[in-house]
């Protein structure tokens, strides 16, 4: 099943190696053609690529915009410089450095290690703040914190001259102390490409991506986004730290302005122009922007000639002037956000393309998968009360369900059905009442705990991971759900679930390309993939006609039997509920007004009055 070694490890390694070879080869080829003057340009491009790949590990996989990574780079750069520069030079420039740093020297490669460790320690603290504010106020607050980090590091670098040499002097290596071979850069670049690509195919990376696509749906599958985002942050900061150290080593000096706004702008533009969601995109972005910037710089300085006509006079002198490269970056950032936010390549990856072309459509569908038997567990929801301001959404409502039955909840609009599911799955915390699964008290637990305990839901308004393929949707849930389950109950494979959902021929299509019925089926298969004890379905037939609803009955039964789960289903389609449920509860104004077999509930006069407005059921 997974990790599929060929798809998740071997091919990505091959793809990363090819990408690295083409990029490095291209750079060296340009240098051969353009001559020695291009040497520094190419080396800096390689280092920029390491930094951009590092930023992409966080920004791409989590979808959270960070302005702070260059701030982390600044911390790493100064740490590196402080440990790498020879004491003679430091005693010259910063004799009063705190902690006796002026006399320390560990050599450049030891300094890189220290820089990474120190920066990671800072990142761990910042990461907690990002996670906490992100959980409360969304990604926007996290972005502002990263921006604040960038400014803090800049302020400190400028105003602590004893440590950093201050704004003008900075820190310098002795002459000849700077990086004189390109091999370390190229090796580190290879490492960065491999790490970035493998992280995206790893469990942690996949779960971060799933949370990026839909945070709430991911949590409802058992993913804790904060943990995955923290892992992504630490890994990305480590890579950025190495890149920043190399940059300082190559420059032979560091000044506060080196790791501030303009470098943040440059690296972010590189990332988004190529496509922030992919490693190939990041590398392409670095190449394209390095070229465009160099071209703009030269044109701005010299203008140029076409057929012997100089273009640096009027009418084009208002374009080709100094600082043109800054405009190019700004316009690239704005233009791509307005017209192509995914960048040139979006999330296209070489290895996936190789995998897909070579596999073709040769893979056969699995045999009809065998059902799994449920383990006996009881879901008891008792006396739940929820008030939204003055409105009582739930008033001492409760249900019971076992893993061997299908329980329905019906009721008119506003009866509290969805609120009840939200309470059970931890999205809404009840004012009072309990939710108990087996011997676990789940009342007020966060959604990912509830999911891991064995309750997984679908959503009334579809919440698929829309940029991911059908297979990736199902797999994401399976990876999340299989963790922390203390039983060794066999569960159906991803292939089996996709096949059973009737999505076999769509397995490699993106979820957003599916039609409505298939989207509904995928949502069901995804919930089942988390291998829950109970599937909670919130209006699985909403927007379907009678025939489709009937097909959904079969679909739900089949999925439930396949994973061995009980079902709690909300719907207002009475035919659907009647044909699928063993028992039915009817909610009205937050209270359970009737329960029993579908026939009993249907015949109950209270139900008829509340739910059908007094009319006879058809």
């Amino acid at each position: 099943m997974f990790p599929d070694r060929r798809r998740d490890v071997a091919l990505p390694l091959l793809g990363a190696a090819l990408l690295w070879a083409v990029f490095v080869g291209g750079g060296l080829l340009y240098e051969m053609v353009a001559g020695g003057a291009a040497e520094r340009l190419v080396t800096v491009m390689f280092i920029d690529a390491i930094v951009v790949l590092g930023i992409g590990i966080y920004v791409g996989n989590t979808g959270i915009l960070s302005f702070g990574h260059i701030g982390f780079g600044s911390i790493a750069g100064y740490t590196f410089a402080l440990f790498a520069i020879a004491p003679t030079e430091k005693l010259n420039r910063i004799p009063d450095a705190p902690f006796g740093l002026a006399e320390v020297s560990v050599g450049p490669w030891g300094a890189v290690v220290i820089a990474v460790v120190v920066t990671l320690a800072v990142a761990a603290v910042i990461g907690v703040g990002l996670a906490r504010s992100g959980a409360e106020s969304g990604a926007v607050a996290a972005t502002v914190i990263t921006l604040a980090l960038l400014f803090v590091t800049h302020e400190v670098a400028r105003n602590w001259p004893d440590l950093t040499g201050g704004e003008r002097a900075g820190l310098f290596f002795t002459i000849g102390g700077a990086l004189d071979s390109r091999i370390p850069v190229v090796v580190c670049l290879a490492g960065a490409v491999v790490v970035a690509r493998l992280f995206a195919t790893s469990r942690s990376g996949r779960l971060a991506i799933v949370a990026r696509e839909d945070n709430l749906a991911a949590r409802a599958m058992g993913v804790n986004p904060l943990v995955q985002q923290m892992i992504a942050l630490l890994l990305s900061v480590a890579v950025v730290s190495i890149g920043a150290s190399l940059r300082v080593y190559e420059d032979g000096s560091i000044l506060p302005g080196n790791f501030f706004f303009s470098y943040t702008l440059l690296t972010l533009v590189m990332l988004i122009v190529g496509g922030r969601n992919g490693v190939t995109g990041a590398i392409v972005g670095v190449a394209v922007i390095t070229a465009a910037r160099e071209l703009a710089r030269r044109l701005g300085q010299d203008g140029f000639e076409v057929f012997g006509v100089g273009l640096d006079g009027p009418p084009l002198d208002w374009v080709f002037r100094e600082n043109l490269q800054t405009v190019v970056l700004g316009v690239a950032m704005l233009g791509f956000m307005l017209w192509r936010p995914g960048g040139l390549l979006d999330d296209w990856e070489l290895d996936r393309w190789l995998g897909r072309t070579r596999a073709g459509d040769a893979s056969d569908p699995p045999d009809d998968p065998a059902p799994h038997s449920p383990r006996d567990r009881l879901l008891v929801v008792r006396d739940v009360e929820v008030a939204f301001g003055g409105f009582r959404a739930l008033d001492r409502a409760g249900i019971e369900a076992t893993t061997s039955e299908v329980v329905g909840i019906i009721g008119p609009n506003g009866a509290g059905k969805t609120t009840l599911v939200n309470v059970v799955t931890g999205v809404v915390t009840p004012d009072s009442g309990t939710v108990i699964l087996g011997d676990l008290d789940l009342t007020g637990r966060p959604p990912h705990h509830v999911a891991r305990a064995g309750l997984v839901r679908t959503f009334q308004n579809l919440r698929l991971f829309s940029a991911l393929t059908v297979r990736e949707n199902v797999e994401g849930a399976a990876r999340a759900g299989l963790r922390d389950r203390n039983d060794d109950r066999a569960v159906p494979g991803v292939d089996d679930l996709i096949f059973a959902a009737g999505l076999w021929e769509h397995a490699d299509r993106r979820a957003r390309e599916l039609d409505y019925g298939n989207s509904r089926r995928l949502e069901l298969a995804r919930a089942a993939a988390a291998a829950p004890d109970f599937l909670l379905l919130d209006e699985p037939t909403s927007g379907m006609n009678d025939a489709e609803s009937l097909a959904m009955v079969q679909q739900v039964r089949r999925m439930a039997a396949l994973v061995g789960a009980g079902v709690v289903v909300i719907d207002h389609d009475l035919n659907f509920i009647t044909s699928i449920c063993d028992r039915v509860y009817c909610l009205d104004q937050g209270r359970v007004i009737a329960q029993g077999t579908p026939a009993e509930v249907k015949a109950n006069p209270l139900v008829q009055r509340a739910y059908l407005g007094g009319a006879e059921p058809s």
């Binding site: 979808g63 972010l268 233009g335 307005l338």
Partner: protein
């Protein structure tokens, strides 16, 4: 005690400007969930307009209205050219769009004016002070506080007593429902940008009087103050934004006067660290706004 009172007065003067900026940020955030990193560009444009009037030898009485008009026009043009195309996009796209706007605007000034600092004369009364008991109060702070209070009251009347204000607040509470109730999204969004630009313009006049100079990237500072103040107050809350502005202003003044000499230069850094701590311990900001996600 005297020193603290003195700090409070100075902090209120500073905070008044931040409050106006933060309110503008919060109004725009309310209607399109956009945290506008280009909010300072209104002041950048105002700065170059002031520089231009100074070159003509005109006084602040000409410059000030120009800054106001320039800010409103800039705000509307930015909305039309950039933000109207990304309505409803992801946070990522919205944030980077606004940052892109900042970079394009500052690059334009870099390219067509100059990278160097452009100065203009401050009004003569900026440095004047008068005594109240043991306290020294700046004439400038007095004018700023009075103007800010009048502006905030006016904005409050506008938001609470007019049809436009009602639709703006309705849109901020729930954009989709507001549209269903007949609020026209174009009108309310453009109105929000105009109002936000006007507030930034008023703040900008005082900002520029104090600064006496401008550079292409001048927008960053006022933007940061406005955004941070709005964030301190709790994103989406208009009252919170105003409160956040005053809190930020007072915090800066108190820190500047209390920090030991060696690290007084780090005031801004310390403020950032305090804000980060605030977010670790109170992630929703000072005034929390219930924004339950509907599922």
């Amino acid at each position: 005690m005297t020193e603290l009172t003195q700090n409070l007065i100075d902090g209120l003067g500073r905070g008044s400007i931040y409050a106006l900026l933060a309110l503008g940020v919060a109004i725009v955030f309310g209607v399109m969930h956009l945290l506008n990193f280009a909010h300072g560009e209104m002041i950048t444009v105002g700065g170059y307009l002031t520089y231009w009037t100074a070159l003509q030898g005109w006084s602040w009485w000409v410059a000030a209205p120009l800054v106001l008009v320039g800010a409103v026009v800039t705000s509307l043009v930015i909305e039309r050219v950039a933000f109207s195309r990304v309505r409803g996009s992801s946070d990522f796209t919205l944030l980077l769009t606004s940052f892109g706007v900042h970079f394009v605007v500052s690059a334009m000034f870099l390219l067509y004016v100059s990278a160097s600092v452009k100065t203009f004369d401050r009004p003569g009364w900026v440095a004047d002070t008068y005594a109240v008991g043991p306290l020294r109060v700046e004439v400038f702070d007095t004018v700023v506080i009075a103007t800010a209070v009048a502006t905030l009251l006016g904005t409050s009347l506008l938001l609470n007593r007019t049809m436009f204000g009602l639709s703006l607040r309705a849109a901020a509470a729930d954009f989709d429902t507001a549209r269903l109730m007949g609020v026209r999204s174009d009108t309310v969004i453009r109105g929000a940008f105009a109002l936000s630009g006007l507030l930034a313009g008023i703040a900008g006049i005082f900002w520029l009087m104090r600064a006496g100079s401008t550079v292409p990237s001048a927008g960053i500072d006022p933007m940061l103050k406005g955004v941070l103040a709005a964030l301190i107050g709790g994103l989406g809350s208009l009252r919170g934004a105003v409160a956040g502005g005053f809190v930020l202003g007072i915090a800066e003044v108190v820190l500047r006067s209390r920090l030991p000499d060696g690290i007084a230069g780090l005031t801004e850094g310390v403020v950032f660290v305090l804000i980060a701590l605030l977010f670790i311990f109170r992630p929703q900001g000072l005034v929390s706004v219930a924004r339950a996600e509907r599922v």
